[in-house]
């Protein structure tokens, strides 16, 4: 009897039925990723090997011509530089401010929740609305210069001077989103076991030393995670540039995404735009890879 039952094993075993359910559950996401990520990614590469004239409706294979153009494009070095300055500035300012705010919010103070709410509030303000107000504030005769003038300071035309334009876009972006990292850091700080601080105090470590020797190592996984998110996010900044500076003055705030948008959708250079997309993809991939590798060195502690 035992042998009979062994032979009659149905095709739809419990495990198979369950696996089928699994595929069913992930199907929408997987099909979506294939359709809207993987195929487009392949297409981007395919386009980048072609010259695409929208007006004449021609699409011709040009091999690596677009990549040659990339190397010779006189705008590319300043665009990459602008991207680098923007991303570096953003990450440094964002992370340090987020950490500072998180440490402040971690103190035992009355009404701290009100502060937390207010610091976080720009995150939920519509991005374009936020940028428009700042654009308004940063006009030559806008609110910021108005206030400076009250103190007798003649402010620059923020958005029309290369250096201040870059500073402006960074600052606008930092205040918009620093609340997110702040909350993540705050949660990480609150997750550090209290006994560690107590032990350190028994050992006579100063507050600053406690922060450096205990807090930072303990929250380093969060720092890594948020820095990856922030860097990848910084490479995607578009609305702020489009609204505040349109990439100017000159190309001083033309970051790669904005340049890509201009080439593809303003000048209809879809082939070259695709080549720039590939470049953007490579940069993001390399940065993520580097940060992932750094995990081993920087992160002292992981659960």
């Amino acid at each position: 009897m035992s042998d009979i039952s062994q032979q009659k094993r149905p095709f739809w075993t419990i495990a198979r039925k369950d696996a089928a359910a699994g595929y069913l559950f992930i199907a929408p996401q997987l099909i979506g990723i294939i359709t809207f990520v993987l195929i487009p990614l392949g297409l981007v590469f395919y386009y980048s090997l072609h010259e695409w004239n929208v007006l004449a409706n021609t699409f011709t294979f040009v091999g690596d011509a677009n990549y040659q153009m990339l190397l010779r494009d006189p705008n590319l070095p300043p665009v990459l530089l602008a991207s680098a300055i923007f991303s570096a500035g953003l990450v440094v300012v964002n992370m340090s401010l987020a950490l500072l705010l998180a440490v402040l919010l971690d103190q035992k103070l009355k009404g701290i929740v009100v502060f937390r709410t207010l610091f976080f509030s720009p995150v939920v303000v519509s991005l374009v609305a936020w940028t428009i107000v700042w654009s308004f504030l940063l006009q030559a005769n806008g609110g910021i210069n108005g206030i400076l003038q009250v103190f007798g300071i003649e402010g620059p035309n923020w958005l029309r001077t290369p250096t201040t334009a870059m500073i402006s876009v960074v600052v606008v972006q930092v205040f918009k989103n620093v609340g997110l990292n702040m909350i993540l850091f705050l949660a990480a700080l609150q997750g550090v076991p209290k006994e560690l601080y107590e032990a350190a105090r028994v050992d006579g470590a100063s507050r600053f030393k406690q922060f450096r020797r205990i807090t930072l190592p303990m929250i380093s996984p969060t720092i890594l995670l948020t820095s990856i998110i922030t860097i990848v996010g910084s490479l995607q900044v578009f609305a702020q540039i489009a609204i505040l500076t349109k990439g100017g003055p000159g190309v001083s705030t033309t970051v790669l995404v904005y340049y890509l948008y201009q080439q593809a959708f303003q000048f209809n250079f879809f082939g070259y735009g695709s080549t720039l997309s590939i470049l953007l993809f490579v940069i993001v991939a390399v940065l993520t890879f580097i940060q992932w590798q750094m995990r081993k060195r920087i992160v002292f502690y992981e659960n």
Partner: protein
């Protein structure tokens, strides 16, 4: 670090935080107050923290210059659909990746995670061509389909997966013994317990959709179809100069409702984000 603070340090900390608050709070304040100033007062010197004259006509101008109600509806319904759709797609996928054993699940998960790595700007050109071919340019389909099924929902799937991984396996086994199949276990047991994660996903997704800017300006061309972020930049006079007060009135209408919802529900908001984002 949570030691009791001396009164003097306390005052210093409050002071520091108040100063730091200025760039976070002032822009919103300035947006709302300037939206009710007549255009002549908008660049007044010294700046008026409180309008010296009120001009509420800016708000009606918003609706005269553009089909703003329609645009508001566009943004709202798209964000609502995207949020609901993402919650369905990513909770299902996150659940399966976390709890169902099926061949290649890890490989497939890695492939899906690629979506996190690829900024949507990278694929915007081919997506435009694809939707052009499907006749969906100047419709809302790209703004609905891509976020729900494509790269933007991957983060949500990741968050849901992290949550479901931590769910005790015994609960599901008890449910199986009690007679539930996979789908019912998901629907009756796992999903109700995932409310905090779902809340965080909903918030993220809504804000993402509500803020979308590059995609609308690439995919949409008629003002009737515009979404709010796109519409906000269109308030210019005949010479292309910005009509600041009208623009700020539109911005206020875009920003303030979300802000109010946030302040009312800030606890769930902030804590939901903190607790799901962190355990990554």
């Amino acid at each position: 670090m949570k030691t009791d603070l001396s009164p003097r340090l306390r005052v210093a900390l409050y002071g520091l935080m108040c100063v730091l608050l200025i760039p976070f709070v002032f822009p919103t304040w300035w947006m709302v107050t300037s939206s009710v100033k007549p255009i002549s007062d908008i660049f007044a010197f010294p700046p008026d923290l409180w309008p010296r004259r009120f001009d509420f006509s800016t708000y009606s101008r918003v609706f005269e210059l553009q089909p703003f109600a329609r645009q508001y509806w566009n943004s709202a319904y798209i964000a609502a659909l995207v949020t609901a759709g993402t919650m369905v797609v990513s909770s299902m996928a996150g659940y399966a990746f976390a709890r169902i054993r099926f061949p290649f699940s890890n490989t497939i998960f890695m492939v899906v995670l690629l979506g996190l790595l690829i900024p949507s700007e990278v694929t915007i050109v081919p997506l435009f061509q694809m939707f052009l071919r499907w006749g969906m340019i100047n419709t809302h389909w790209p703004l609905i389909l891509v976020p729900i099924f494509g790269a933007p929902s991957v983060f949500a799937t990741f968050v849901m997966r992290q949550f479901f991984i931590a769910l005790p396996g015994e609960l599901e086994e008890a449910a199986r013994v009690d007679g539930l199949g996979r789908f019912k276990i998901f629907w009756i047991i796992a999903l109700p317990l995932a409310k905090p994660a779902l809340g965080a996903v909903a918030i993220f997704t809504f804000l993402h959709s509500w803020n979308l800017y590059l995609e609308p300006i690439v995919f949409l061309s008629s003002t009737q179809m515009f979404t709010l972020p796109q519409a906000l930049t269109q308030f210019t006079d005949a010479y292309g100069g910005a009509m600041w007060n009208v623009q700020l009135a539109a911005a206020t209408m875009t920003a303030v409702p979300v802000l109010i919802v946030f302040i009312v529900a800030q606890k769930q908001f902030v804590e939901g984000l903190a607790h799901t984002g962190l355990k990554g």
